[in-house]
């Protein structure tokens, strides 16, 4: 079950630098831990986060085992035109989640 929270300012001026915050629910199991019986707990992490702005990729992050549960990714982009910001998280065990937010640029 994937829950994601994204925070995109609803309005911005053209050329303004805006901050985007994303938070997603994920255990980010490292694959290095063992259970109480000594068996390795298999790795289960988000591998890739991509943000597209009206279809153009503007931000990408590769995630690794050292990243804590529920990754919180904050980045900035330049607001160029009104449209949609789409967010996509993909990871182990076929994990996939997406979210989108609209922005008006004037």
């Amino acid at each position: 079950m994937a829950n994601a929270l994204v925070n995109v300012p609803p309005r911005a001026r053209r050329g303004e630098i805006i901050e985007i915050k994303t938070l997603i629910s994920h255990p980010m199991e490292t694959g290095y831990r063992r259970s109480q019986l000594g068996a390795t707990i298999p790795r289960d992490i988000i591998r890739l986060f991509v943000c597209t702005y009206n279809g153009t990729e503007v931000f990408r992050a590769e995630l690794h085992p050292a990243i804590a549960a529920n990754p919180f990714i904050v980045f900035s982009i330049v607001a160029t035109e009104s449209g949609t910001l789409a967010f996509q998280w993909t990871g182990d065990n076929g994990f996939s989640a997406s979210e989108s937010a609209a922005i008006t640029v004037d």
């Binding site: 829950n3 929270l5 925070n7 915050k21 549960a69």
Partner: protein
Amino acid sequence: MSGRIARLVVALALALLAGTAPAGEIPTAERRSGYELMGRETRAMQDDDTANPGMLGVLEGEAAWARKNGAAGRACADCHGDARASMKGVAARYPALDAALKRPVNLEQRINLCRTERQQAPALAYESRELLALTAFVARQSRGVPIDVAADARTQPFLDAGRAAFYRRQGQLNLACNQCHDENWGKRLAGNPIPQAHPTGYPVYRLEWQSLGSLQRRLRGCLTGIRAEPYEYGAPELVDLELFLMWRARGMAMETPAVRP
């Protein structure tokens, strides 16, 4: 004459006794939420709902609130309606007395009682994701509401039991709760500030746990820390202690879902 003086002294002593709390109890004006002892970054994380990972649990709880469950095929929302109105201030009054059980139950137990009796669904396990999410969602509706648990003749025995547990030395380290949380709050224990132990923001998102956790999880952690044998989840001893801690924090604002280091 001397008789009058003696009576006066006794009266004065009684008045002083009545006016002062047990030795070392924190005066109301000096009470601090754990929030105030946290670093700037952690406080910012709690304050911003899109940065607070506890909100992920609240979101999940909101979905669970509307989901039909059990043999009765009812959702929480079918009886309680919009939680924003019906659940406001509820968490600030828990643990509360259950008429049938004749003892206080905490919010998790109340949710499970609702599940088994009204929804005819199996009870959720303590610390399970769904129970934490539902509890966080219900308690979130009380954010900012002052804590106000009932302290009356019916809850008094349980409150007293909780108080006794708080002041009882236990475990191999032979420590009582108050020795850290009343007498040494604000000082450091292994680099971390010792809080006053006011349960204002449960279930909390604890960075060390990387998940939401209940007050009982915290209490069990403390008990293990002083090398005492922790009570089982849901044990009446833990609920009594929860009741006493909430009473001790009476009037303080709820913060659920709080973030703690």
